[in-house]
Amino acid sequence: MKDTTEDLERLESEVKDHGHSERDLDWSRDAYFRLLLSQVQSSPAQGEVRRAAEAARGSAQSLEQLHGEPGVWAEATVHRWLRENPERFIRHRGETENTWSLRSALWGIPAVAAGMSFLFALFTVIPGWGPDQMSLGWILVPGAIAVPIILLHAVYSSTLGRRGNLRAVAAAVVVVAVSAVVIAVVAMATQDVLLPQGVPWIWIATGAWTLLAVVAWQLAQRIPGSGAHDDLGLPRRVHTAEEPVDDRTWADQFRSALFHRRVLKDSDVDRAVHEALTHAQQSSNLAVEEFGSPWDYAHALAEDPVVRPRRMTLFTGALAAAWTVLFAAQLVEGLGMDEVPVLESVFRAGMLLLFLGATISSARDWRRAARLKTERTRG
């Protein structure tokens, strides 16, 4: 991972070597820091400030005379790049949650509904799985399921960046619980509204959801980007000209970046933030000067090898527990029936075994990682 403090040193050298005044050096540093705090990558940030300095030299003016206040210049640059050069912003796709904006949810919901509807349609092809007669519920429930799926992802991701993993999981559980109730209400209200037979309703519904997703996507492209959210990416936060360049902003972004990485315990995130701020204070430098871009620094730190396998074990364990309950419920239901739905039983048992196997595998990884970490610490 690149050390972004080297870009600052390069920029300072260049400005000094070309005979700029101390005021210009301060301008350059301030502008550069503001770009970093708007999640611009350090290389393009350094390059743009350098070009601003070159232009000032060429016109024999100071940077402030030519470009105005560094905050105003930086904010304008960020807004321009959000429209024209989004690739200059930080994107750590491998380890960050995609977040949903209103714009992307507009087409995301019908797209997920189309997928669910297609699965429902496949179920109807398997003998004994589909309903005897199609009801309105089968048409609407995919949409009712799609909304909480998007909402769950959005709530988890948004809570994760601000409050950490534990609170994000708690918020997600609340969303799941409330959504389950809503879906049940929709299903119960519509399951008795039967549709005429002989028409492939479920396939028509799948097509309709797909068409809706395509139309919604086209409409979404015509909605101007707000700059505050990017489609399926990190939430973009523009550091405005009025805001100071201070450690609090840097620390908030650093904390959010560490939470989004999901490779440290929540308590270790707080410690990493505290360690960085303490170091910056002792060095009498701003945190952004000492550590560079908060997002790049967050990705440069070593991960705790135990965190990922532990969380995966808990997640797959929860799913295994859920399928255990579903399988047991079916066994109990089947006791009083003449005909036991074999295929459905096999399906539930299969899902249970799948998640049980995944849990055991993750637990082994967890144990191995914990052992390695203990040996490493013992030294």
Partner: protein
């Protein structure tokens, strides 16, 4: 490593030798990050910025050469200190030997060999 009071090593040397320098400083006992940075500065390596230092400390810890512990503070999360492990001590000894060999190779008089003549050292007719 010997003392280098007032000496500032070239940046390229400092970057290459920094991991070894960190192990050498920790040989003197556990340190927290900022104190480590100031001691490295005192040894002529410049004070590494936090953005360079802590990721490097993380890599050394992943390699098992150093270990870190959090010391509880009166307020807040406390302070993390870094210490050398047994593996780190062995690695330091090995790297110091390698650096010493490098210095020997650099400071020995150059021996040149030409296709058309014997090996010569320094100016002809003069001793080492």
């Amino acid at each position: 490593m010997g003392s280098a009071a007032g000496q500032q090593w070239p940046a390229a040397w400092s970057r290459t030798a920094l991991p070894t320098a960190i192990l050498a400083v920790l040989r003197g006992g556990p340190r927290h990050g900022y104190r480590l940075a100031t001691e490295l500065e005192g040894r002529g390596f410049g004070r590494p910025r936090g953005g360079s230092l802590y990721p490097l400390l993380g890599r050394l810890e992943e390699d098992g050469l150093i270990a870190s512990t959090w010391e509880p503070g009166q307020t807040g999360p406390g302070r993390r200190t870094y210490r050398l492990t047994a593996q780190g001590t062995a690695q330091l000894a090995q790297e110091r030997a390698q650096w010493a060999a490098l210095v020997t190779a650099l400071t020995a008089d150059a021996a040149t060999e030409h296709d058309d003549g014997p090996v010569t050292t320094g100016a002809q007719g003069e001793g080492p």
